[in-house]
């Protein structure tokens, strides 16, 4: 397999890998390192790539495991949890100013979620995978995923409602 073939396979989901890593590891640098690690692992095993039924799902599982390991490991002591990456120029300025505060809040709320729920919200609400795919990636059954997702969504909603209506932080 040549480099271009590999890039073609990897291109559609490398951003997803990165976003999942960032969801779990919070800081951009850490997420970039993790993504690089995952892609290099895939590259090293490129001869076997044809054997995987679904490279994307496989990579997402790998990412999840890698990031959780990273969080557990002692290296995680050095994790830079502070992040300063909110330079998103895609929305119009007015909208951004209006929403920025609340949008910030959503990310903070999500940081507080348990890891399992973080992953599920990430995969479902942001990457829009269907439940069967998520079940495969996380090696869980769909009911458990739905339960977790429902919990996560309700938590987000509650916290958002609180800040929105009462300004409670």
């Amino acid at each position: 397999m040549k480099q271009t073939d590999f890039v073609e396979i990897v291109l559609p989901f490398k951003d997803k890998v990165f976003r999942l890593a960032k969801r779990l590891l919070v800081s951009r640098e850490e997420a970039e390192d993790a993504t690089q690690e995952i892609l290099l692992k895939l590259w090293k095993n490129k001869t076997k790539i044809g054997d995987y039924k679904n490279v994307e799902a496989f990579s997402m599982t790998m990412t999840k495991n890698f990031c959780l390991d990273r969080l557990k490991s002692k290296q995680a002591q050095n994790l830079k949890i502070v992040h300063s990456n909110y330079t998103d120029n895609n929305t119009s300025l007015q909208k951004q100013v209006e929403a920025k505060d609340s949008v910030d809040w959503v990310s903070k709320i999500m940081e507080d979620l348990p890891e399992q729920q973080k992953i599920i919200v990430q995969l479902r609400d942001i990457e829009e995978y269907d439940f069967a795919e998520i079940a495969k990636m996380l090696d869980m059954n769909e009911t458990a995923i739905r339960v977790n997702l429902s919990r996560a969504r309700k938590t987000i909603r509650e916290k958002l409602t609180n800040t929105h209506q009462h300004g409670i932080k």
Binding site: Q3, R19, L39, L40, A99, I145, S150
Partner: protein, 163 residues
Amino acid sequence: MVLNNIETLLEKYNNAETTLKEEAELKAYFLSDNVAPHLEHYKPMFQYFSESKKEQYTKDVPLNTKKTKLYQWISVAAVAILMLGFFIPNWNSGPKTLADYSPEEQQMYLEAKEALAMLSNNFNDGASSLKTLSLASENFNVGLEKANHITEFSETTNKLLKN
């Protein structure tokens, strides 16, 4: 009516029972500008989701391809062959002086040399006899010049006779 629909969808959404299509509908609704005031607090959530999806991995991954070193080795081989080409002919050139040959060969060489010397001697003889010939032809030419004088003389006598 639309609002009712959205509210039921939201209920389903919170119970994680919506399909991807329904969720897309919800997203579209909350990203639009006319969100009902009592649902306003959902807005940032969906905004956040759609914004997070835009984030991209921009770093390059150093995929270290195994460079085939074949080409380098080919050049090395080429140089080696060239060097061999320069040196091998000198190894095989064998004995170089007369003393290196066997006596019979030396004998033959000397005989051949003598025969050739004899030939060249005779040839020189022939050449010297040719010299006498050329001397004769020179004299002949002198004679011819003199004969020219005679014809000149006879021409003038003819002119005189005509007159």
